[in-house]
């Protein structure tokens, strides 16, 4: 076991999968000699050559579409969208093509493809280098959407995604890349897709989150513990298909639910989580299902004051937890 950052865990996972399976290749903008703008594929071009670490033209739709084609012709493409904010031009290929090919071909064709997208803010990225996109992709049946919150999961979920027969959108929080460290085993392992995890056990309230926000929830939960309120924290891990069972089980136990995400509020993924609870755990609820999210503005501003104003943080979460506990 060694302590790694998120970005090291993702890099290790990618490298090991490329060494393990020659069908795995990487394509995207600046993934080659530059090693990606965040350095995720640093050194890959040297190790695997320019064709397996393909610098593409600046064209997200064909990056996704060519990945779909290569996947249908026996390869295991891992595409990188330089920022999740730039994946919109590829939404037709991802949502209407990649997601629907197994279904529309009545199971004759499938798309074993992974699309990695750095997402999230708090890094002075402004409107177009800070967005969260999980709600948009999570709504599309046929896509698997994953957001790891720690290095262990990042590596294990990425390996599972690359080995999966269906298309996976793999979202990596930019703010967590170097901030979040953790132990990662040296031997090969995977973390199953579609399973949430209990990041902290508790009996009085359930907080549901993913990515960077999971850590803010854990901080707030420690504060609540000091006041005698034990918050159970659920790490969603796979946005879609959503592991409702784990969430519902926890809420049935605690009777109170708070959902946290960085994405804007209306129609964010918290809505689905909240609605699932309201549907399946209603008789167990002792209070409203609370959402702590980014505000309904187009995206977070560049100016640091306004960026901070946008971002959910432990204080904001703590305040909501206290109100809910007092309900």
């Amino acid at each position: 076991m060694a302590v790694k950052t998120m970005i090291e865990a993702v890099r290790d996972g990618l490298r090991e999968e490329m060494e393990r399976d020659e069908r795995v290749f990487i394509l995207g903008e600046d993934v080659g000699p530059r090693g990606g703008v965040f350095g995720v594929t640093d050194g890959f071009s040297k190790q695997f050559g320019p064709l397996r670490v393909l610098d593409t033209p600046l064209a997200e739709s064909v990056i996704a579409g060519a990945s779909i084609g290569a996947a249908m012709n026996g390869m295991r493409p891992v595409a990188e969208m330089q920022f999740a904010d730039f994946s919109h031009p590829a939404m037709d290929q991802i949502m209407n093509e990649g997601a629907k090919i197994r279904y529309r071909s009545n199971n004759d064709f499938n798309v074993p493809m992974v699309i990695r997208m750095p997402y999230g803010g708090g890094i002075h990225g402004a409107l177009y280098h800070s967005q969260s996109v999980e709600a948009l992709y999570g709504h599309i049946p046929g896509l698997i959407v994953v957001i790891p919150s720690n290095p262990y999961d990042a590596k294990g979920l990425l390996k599972a995604a690359i080995r999966d027969p269906d298309p996976v959108i793999f979202l990596e929080h930019k703010g967590a890349y170097r901030l979040i460290k953790g132990e990662v085993p040296d031997e090969d392992y995977t973390v199953p897709l579609g399973k949430a995890a209990i990041a902290r056990e508790g009996s009085d309230m359930t907080a549901i989150a993913y990515g960077l926000m999971l850590h803010h929830c854990l901080k707030a939960a420690e504060e609540m513990a000091k006041e005698g309120v034990e918050v159970e924290v659920v790490d969603v891990r796979t946005i879609s298909p959503l592991d409702r069972e784990t969430i519902i089980e926890s809420v049935k136990k605690t009777g109170k639910a708070i959902v946290v995400h960085e994405d804007t509020r209306t129609g964010g993924w918290g809505a689905e989580i909240s609605a699932s609870i309201a549907e399946a755990a209603f008789p167990y609820l002792d209070g409203p299902i609370v959402r702590v999210t980014g505000p309904d503005i187009p995206a977070m501003p560049y100016n640091h004051n306004q960026e901070a104003y946008f971002m959910p943080n432990p204080d904001k979460i703590l305040k909501a937890m206290k109100d809910l506990a007092a309900y």
Partner: protein, 373 residues
């Protein structure tokens, strides 16, 4: 997923290996209408059997197409979209490639392409009636949305030009594996306006990918004529901007198309990169059974083009060059009529997909996932 047995689906066309063939002469671009000392098909190394097979598929597609319209008008199928006017292009191209080896990404007009690749009349009618055994999608997609894994026909959707990035990726995989398979991706001239068209030609041009971009220019995108669709002189003229030949060819002339496609396939197989072929023809029917083309084009215009359409032209060539007798051609027609009748009657009685199956195949099942390598 097909519940129907192979034999029931009728005879398959066995993949024909044309590698041995002499390559087309660089000079040739002459049309069927003009006479030449040695008949064009001999220059191209095509046998009498080849030509009769070509004619058979052109007429088979046309006959199936006409039958689908009839069934639509009878209220037996909600939708039909046509290949009429495009048969020479589609048959010419398939004959220039290697069935069973090369990849094909057709679009909704490519009925003649898929039947030439081996989709049987019964299978065509299964997809027309959206039956459970429809090999394209088990009745999930609209007619004309082809996809047939065994024939290396890749599943397509409705959004125009989305198949071009797939073709580019398939060819990229071929290049990575040093395979000499070629990928043919087919589309209309309206599709050239899409961003996906541009991004795909650019990527294929940069990496010299083995792709044949086949633009079937039938002069309309539903109601929109070429001058409001394509800036510049032509689609073919854009090829050089992507570092690939842009070849314009008479799409009503099956041999001219064969020749152009043959050259493109050879370039691709030799690793010399992609080719853009613009085959010009005319859409003889309305855009689809949901369209009324009288709102945007005159009957005179349509009649003018009927006179130039591919089938009679090729028929005449076969007669003029002693490739076939009136009798042989009549026999082909008879055989096709029987096949179309059989296919219609048989397919109509086949079962619909089950309601409960509506939820299947969104993701791999746990079993499928366990077996996946």
């Amino acid at each position: 997923m097909a519940t129907t047995t192979k034999s029931e689906l009728g005879s398959k066309v066995e993949p024909t290996n044309r590698k041995g063939r002499a390559s087309a002469p660089k000079n040739g671009r002459q049309s069927l209408s003009t006479q030449s000392p040695t008949p064009k098909h001999q220059e191209l190394g095509l046998s009498k059997e080849d030509l009769l097979e070509m004619y058979y598929y052109m007429l088979l597609a046309r006959s199936l197409d006409e039958r689908m319209w009839l069934l639509n008008r009878q209220g037996k199928a909600p939708f039909v979209i046509s290949c009429q006017g495009h048969e020479a292009i589609q048959v010419g191209v398939v004959f220039a490639l290697e069935r069973g080896k090369d990849w094909f990404l057709p679009y909704y007009r490519d009925l003649a392409m898929v039947v030439t690749l081996g989709m049987t009349p019964r299978e065509v009618m299964l997809q027309h009636f959206a039956k459970k055994a429809d090999p394209d999608s088990g009745g999930r997609q609209m007619p004309g949305h082809y996809g047939y894994k065994r024939l290396k026909v890749v599943t397509g959707s409705s959004p125009v030009a989305t198949q071009l990035p797939h073709a580019t990726g398939i060819a990229l995989a071929s290049k990575m594996r040093n395979s000499d398979e070629v990928t043919v991706v087919s589309h209309g001239e309206g599709a050239t306006s899409k961003g996906d068209w541009h991004e795909s030609l650019n990527l294929a041009g940069i990496h010299k990918l083995p792709v044949l971009f086949l633009c079937q220019n039938n002069q309309y995108a539903i109601s929109v004529p070429v001058p409001q669709q394509v800036a510049g002189e032509s689609v073919a003229a854009r090829g050089q901007g992507y570092g690939m030949p842009g070849v314009e060819v008479d799409g009503t002339d099956v041999l001219a198309v064969y020749e152009a496609a043959k050259e493109a396939a050879e370039r691709a197989r030799k690793g010399e990169g992609p080719t853009l072929i613009e085959a010009k023809t005319y859409r003889l029917t309305a855009h689809s059974s949901d369209d009324n083309d009288r709102t945007y084009r005159t009957r005179d215009e349509v009649e003018l083009w009927r006179a130039k359409e591919p089938l009679p032209k090729f028929r005449q060539y076969l007669l003029d060059n002693g490739v076939a007798t009136e009798q042989e051609i009549a026999d082909i027609k008879k055989r096709i009529d029987a096949e179309v009748n059989d296919a219609t009657d048989w397919a109509e009685t086949q079962p619909d997909p089950d309601e409960a199956d509506t939820l299947k195949h969104v993701y791999a099942t746990p079993e499928e996932r366990a077996q996946w390598r």
